[in-house]
Structures are given as C-alpha cells and as structure tokens.
C-alpha cells in the first residue's frame, strides 16, 4: 500500500517541491482514475455536492485546468504539433501548476481535494507513447502521495458505447492517433485503450489503487465510492 496512512504527514513521490512545509497540509487528497469514457467526471460531479452537503470544503481539479498551461495544451493539441516528450512535459507543467497553486493551498486550508485523474494517467500516456517509465516517474516526483486512488476499471468493449454516446465520438488523442496504431479512429482507439488499460493494471499494486468495477451502472459505483470516501473522512 503506497498511500498515506490516516493522519500521517503528506509525502512527495520523489524529490518534491521546494519551499513546501508538508506538515501544514491538513486536508485529504482523493484521486479518481481510469480510462477515457469510464465515467470519472460523472462520479466527481456527484461526489462534490455530497461532500459539501456533509460540511466538507471541496476543490475539484483535473487535467489541463491550470491557469498557467491549460490553454496552451489545448491549443497545441488542436494543432497536433506535439511530439511525445513535449506533450508529456507540457502536461507535467499543467500538473505542477495545479499542485502548487490549487491543491497545496487547498490542503493547507483543510479542503478535500477531489481530482479527476492524477499522475497515473499521465504516466500511462507517456509509457504507451514509448517514453522511459523511470524518467517520467522521476519527473512526477513533485506529486504528493494521495490518501486514496480509486481506479474505475472497465474493458475497452465497455468504453466504446460510452465514448460514442458523447457528441465528439472518438477523439484524435484518446485514440492515440499520434502514434499510428490503427487504420482508422476505431482501430486505433481499441489498440490505444487496450495498451492504456494494461499500463493502468500494472500500476494497481505499485500505487495502491483501490479497484472499482466500472462496468456497473452509475448508482452502485457512486455508493461504493461514498462508502470508501466516508471511511477516509471519519477523523475530520
């Protein structure tokens, strides 16, 4: 189990950030992880008002939402001008900005930080693109170890109908089209997401993921998450 035992001080995964007093951080850091289309954001959208109605202050955050780099990443992805190393480091910039300017201040103030994806998605994307696993993990040494990582797990065949029911359908990047895995978006999506799932699965033990069966309907997944998160917050 890699996660933070209750009421112990936060730790960084690696070298960490300069000028941060980890002893000051009082909140909880909860991660919802899983592949594209698995229903992470639906769960976050339900969990936030539930936590708030129970009296907890909540910060929700997610990829490319940083004030610094979010816009730049979206523009670059629209122009498809990124190599894999640049893409990885641009995401790391976005991530670090959110850790320093959103997550750490919120944890210091005693908030529950609920994050839609964390370093694991970013590490998986980099590994699937052929980058060196130990390099990318060292880059993310600036990340805090969370209190819990809930991994919403489903098979690729479960993801396809969900992705197709969104207005955009198969997305260029979510299908890994930049690494030429298939003839068309569908072929590429299946191959890319299969590789992503195998990397996620390989991280279950290493990072202490709690696996949630996300082939179920939204309601039972939500109740499962409520129970597990409720236990984490007992001491607050």
């Amino acid at each position: 189990m890699q996660n933070r035992p209750n009421n112990h001080a936060f730790e960084f995964y690696g070298e960490g950030l300069p000028a941060v007093d980890l002893g000051e951080l009082r909140g909880r850091l909860i991660v919802i992880e899983g592949p594209d289309g698995v229903g992470r954001s639906t769960q976050v959208a339900m969990l936030k008002p539930w936590l708030e109605s129970n009296g907890h202050a909540v910060l929700d955050t997610g990829m490319t939402r940083s004030a610094l780099a979010g816009k730049g990443i979206k523009q670059a992805k629209a122009g498809i001008t990124l190599g894999p190393i640049s893409l990885t480091l641009f995401y790391a910039t976005d991530f670090a900005d959110r850790v320093e300017n959103e997550m750490i201040p919120a944890l210091r103030a005693g908030f529950i930080v609920l994050t839609d994806r964390y370093i694991y998605s970013l590490i998986a994307r980099a590994i699937v693109r052929g980058l060196d696993a130990s390099w990318i993990k060292a880059c993310y040494g600036v990340a805090l170890k969370p209190d819990a990582v809930f991994y919403l797990r489903a098979n690729v065949s479960d993801l396809i109908p969900r992705v197709l029911s969104s207005p955009t359908g198969f997305d260029y990047w979510e299908s890994g089209m930049d690494i030429h895995l298939g003839e068309d978006l569908y072929d590429s999506f299946v191959e890319y997401q299969t590789r992503m799932l195998s990397v996620f699965d390989s991280m279950i033990h290493e990072y202490g993921f709690e696996v949630i069966d996300a082939t179920q309907p939204v309601e039972p997944i939500y109740r499962n998450l409520q129970q597990r998160i409720g236990r984490l917050l007992r001491d607050l």
Partner: protein, 233 residues
C-alpha cells in the same frame, strides 16, 4: 526513448553556455558564419524559442505566476519541442546544430531558484548530449559592466526578482548572476564543459573555438556548392 548520452547521429551538436554578458552569443554567431562558409549545413536553435510554449511562458511571466518548478518545466517543454523538431532531425540528416544555451542553463538557474538538482537533471535526461559544450567563463564584474551599460531595463524573472534577494532590481540581478556563475563552475567537471577564457579578445576566443570544433568534423559531410556562399552574403 533515447536518453542523454545514448543518441548516435551523423551530425554534431555544439552548444554555448555562460552568464549574461559572457559574449557566448557573439562567439556562436561567428562560428555559424564560418561553418556555413566552409560548406557545412548548419541549423541554429535558441533557448526558450519554441512556438509551442511561447504564449504560456508569456502569460506566466506577465502575471508573475511562475514558480521555480513550473518555470523549470516550461523550459523543459520548450527544449523538448526543439529537440524533437529542430535538433534530432537535422542531426539525423548529418547537419551541424548550434544551440545558444542548453540544459546547463536550466541546471544553473533552476537550482539557484531552489529546485532540486537531482530532479532537474532527471527532467532533462531526454536531451541529446552535445558534441562539445563550451562554457564562456568571465568574472562577474566584467559581464555586469557589459550587460548593464548596453541593455534595456531588466525584466523580473531575468533579474531573479522571484527569489526575493533584493528589492532593487539591479542588485537582485547581480546577486542572481553570481549564484548562476557559481553553479556553472560546479558543472565544469560534472559535464565536461569546455572552458573558454572570455576575458580575451573576440578573435582569440573564436580561433580557439574553431580549432576545437574542427577536430570533430572529420566525418561531417560538406555541401559541394560553394556558389551558395556568394548568394548568402
């Protein structure tokens, strides 16, 4: 993924490092002109110049929202983009790539800002190891005299104002440059930087640089079209 020291290319990468006012850009520009005249294909790349992160860097600097860590990561993203687009492809094609500042600038500046030396070295492991990394060594008072007499107003991050060393921007700049110079000195042995005494005349320095570079060019193809020199003049 090839890491620092693992790449093999027919081309060559020469980079220059040194504090502001060391004269490294002047030397690199003279080297570039000589190599072109000799018939080599030369590609030039400058620190912090990738269009990919330009807007983001500008926003971060204007609003002073950069931390030492995001400052470091943005510059790493910038170099990664240039490595993937402007450095590896020309090197693969057998060209000479010249870079004004390289990873050692990041190691010097970012660690002066308090970033972990180990982390920033790991971050830049994707970088191609230069054929030769020149370090233009100059006493601080000489470089400061060159810089402060000749340039427009200092900028916030350039002067290291984010470190809180001094409220006076010129004093902050001097202190920050001193810290950076100390870190360059520590890296001379670590990375085998080729030290050039930058207090000598421009011509003497350029001659030494050309002798060192020429030794590395035995296998590098030249363009058999001397008339192009005439067109470029």
């Amino acid at each position: 993924m090839r890491m620092y020291g693992d790449h093999q290319f027919p081309g060559k990468l020469f980079i220059v490092e040194g504090i502001d006012g060391s004269g490294k850009s002047t030397q690199l520009s003279l080297l570039q002109q000589w190599l072109r005249r000799e018939g080599y294909t030369v590609f030039f790349s400058e620190w912090n110049s990738s269009p990919l992160v330009k807007e983001t860097t500008r926003r971060g600097k204007r609003k002073q929202m950069l931390t030492p860590t995001t400052f470091s990561l943005l510059h790493a993203t910038d170099l990664a983009d240039r490595i993937e687009r402007h450095i590896i492809p020309p090197l693969s094609a057998g060209a000479i790539v010249l870079a004004d500042r390289y990873i050692y600038t990041a190691f010097a500046r970012d660690t002066a800002r308090g970033v972990s030396p180990r982390w920033v070295r790991e971050l830049y492991k994707f970088a191609v190891q230069p054929t030769i990394a020149f370090y233009f060594r100059v006493p601080l008072d000489v470089s400061l005299k060159r810089i402060l007499s000749a340039r427009a107003a200092l900028k916030y991050y350039e002067a290291g104002m984010d470190l809180g060393l001094s409220d006076d921007i010129e004093e902050s700049f001097e202190l920050f440059q001193g810290m950076i110079a100390d870190r360059y000195e520590e890296m001379v042995d670590e990375f085998g930087l080729k030290v050039i005494d930058a207090t000598r005349s421009i011509e003497e320095q350029q001659n030494e640089v050309r002798v060192i570079v020429e030794r590395e060019l035995a296998d590098v193809p030249k363009r058999p079209t001397p008339y192009l020199d005439f067109l470029e003049v």
